[in-house]
Point group: C2
């Protein structure tokens, strides 16, 4: 199944380092000397670790299964905490991952990480190959339920800093988002999920929801199919246009709204009856999820190519997935309606 | 499961065009005016279409199922013939695809397609953004059997031409390879498969097998895991160091050896007894296959990003696959031995 043009394998740089597994997670994965409690680096890590605890507690309550935890630190500093439920009662795979990374990266990685066209140009103009000191902390999660009528959900909130480099002052920005991937359209579910995040956004800036909803639809595009991965939510990046504490408050509100926005949909559908055909369709949609994550998702591809912990990055993969040749949903079917909403994103609230 | 750095979605160019499905496949997909029977373009297409027929006939005989055929042409010229067996008796998915593509591509695509460092530098130095006229024809195939003891096999043989561009004379080269992906090591199977291709290579040049065996191990590397996709075979690219007819003869010998090198392994194992654990392991290995194809394979990523026919490109995907969190084979197990051979490629003949 290859096109006719095939060339040499890419040579990859694995730059982040080797993990040391720890049974006792340090109180902070940041640098005690540099990242004092007043810094955003410290405050952001505290926020995401508390969110990991509260979200995992809510999921354990519904699933009736405890998360397995793997925690590690790196000699160069930083570390991570991965929590996974595999083959649970409700979820086939649910993972919540926190990581704190600092070190230095090549200018190309800086450009890719920033995503900001103006900054990207300045980095290019600055030239040179000296590495850029950076700090990054984030929480990310994917949850794939067993029941095909219960949707998959993903969220990721992150904070990024660089130090002064080649005459470019140090930068900081926030990014994140929460998005939903059901297998069919259930209007009231989408109204609840999108409505929840519209409320969160509106509490901080009425311009946020329309802007971040559109950004989400654009980001989660499986370009080769001209279809979104799912039915969206919110997505933002390079957010640094107001006081950092104000954006931290918004990010905190977003991540703390995951449970209320998502879990009612799972509780509502986890015991729905389903047919073998519906299970097949879910598996095919899981395949599309894999396509997006491995081909387009910047977090996944950046992580794989720079030496992130593979098992934490690929925790986002579904437990099982399926690729059927040239599967075309019947016109007028609920599957065709779903694909239509992936081709032309709809407004749910 | 994302790393902390996530940025904007890539914007993709879809440049090849839209397919028109045809029930009668034209005798040639090349340009009757330009690609006369004496040209390598015509001769290569003839060779791969005959190979598609003979290989599919052999597979149908073993599987007891007929291939479904989808054929298409493009307004801009060229076209393809995709043949697929899905959920057959022996194979869960077997596809054999022929395509002929011509048109023009951006200089970046030329560089990526050539893979030849010297030529890549000349293209870079030539500068300019004018598009490069090219012709490409290829046959590609992936076959995933149902029985976990029967190996997956992939082959791809292709011929590429460019016209004079920006002072760089027109180029031509051949590429290709056949490789095997079992789920465990069966020494006599590997001796048969690699031995078959060593014999083919030795008939043409005794330097070929060692060189192309090593190239195969390097190309099919899942870099983020430091493991090959499978147990190798042969792989070559940019082959233009001798008379084109001589290389055509070698390519023809390679593609015509697929059935004898591969099918005996399937016939031997298609009815082997297997446990549920063995089926699970097969599914996990299928997941690794997906990782390689979607993250690294140049043919797949080039095809997806330039508007190739999605269903033909992703015909290489297994019907089903599985990702388990942090699966570690038991030390001393046959699974651990297999992974070891993926980490440090072995010689089989």
């Amino acid at each position: 199944g290859r096109a006719v043009v095939v060339s040499r394998a890419a040579t990859m740089q694995r730059s982040i380092g080797v993990e040391n597994y720890v049974t006792e997670v340090p109180l902070t994965l940041t640098r005690p000397d540099l990242d004092t409690p007043d810094t955003m680096r410290f405050r952001f890590e505290k926020m995401i670790r508390e969110a990991q605890n509260s979200i995992c507690a809510a999921i354990e309550e519904i699933d009736g299964t405890k998360f397995r935890q793997d925690a590690w630190t790196r000699k160069e500093g930083g570390g991570g905490i991965t929590r996974v439920i595999q083959d649970g009662n409700v979820w086939e795979k649910a993972g919540v991952n926190v990581s704190v990374v600092y070190g230095s990266m090549p200018p190309e990685a800086y450009r890719a990480a920033s995503g900001n066209p103006e900054l990207m140009q300045r980095i290019k103009d600055a030239g040179g190959s000296s590495r850029v000191p950076f700090f990054a902390a984030g929480i990310s999660s994917v949850m794939h339920p067993k029941n095909p009528h219960a949707p998959t959900m993903h969220f990721n909130y992150r904070y990024f800093e660089t130090e002064e480099w080649n005459g470019i002052p140090g930068q900081w920005w926030f990014g994140g988002g929460t998005d939903i991937t059901p297998n069919w359209i259930v209007e009231e579910d989408m109204k609840h999920f999108h409505g929840s995040y519209k409320k969160v956004c509106d509490r901080h800036d009425p311009a946020f929801y329309p802007k971040f909803k559109k950004w989400c639809d654009e980001y989660f595009m499986i370009s080769h199919r001209g279809e979104t991965r799912g039915l969206g939510g919110i997505f933002f990046d390079d957010l640094n246009d107001r006081d950092p504490s104000t954006i931290l408050a918004f990010s905190t509100d977003c991540v703390n709204s995951v449970v209320d926005a998502y879990c009612p949909l799972v509780t509502r559908h986890k015991d729905d009856a389903y047919t073998e055909e519906e299970k097949h369709w879910q598996q095919v949609r899981r395949g599309r999820y894999v396509e997006f994550n491995l081909v387009y998702d910047r977090g996944t591809t950046f992580g794989l190519k720079t030496g992130g912990r593979i098992e934490s990055i690929l925790m986002s993969m579904p437990l099982t997935s399926r690729w059927e040749y040239d599967l075309q949903p019947a016109p007028g079917s609920k599957e065709a309606d779903f694909i239509d909403a992936c081709k032309v994103p709809r407004n749910w609230v």
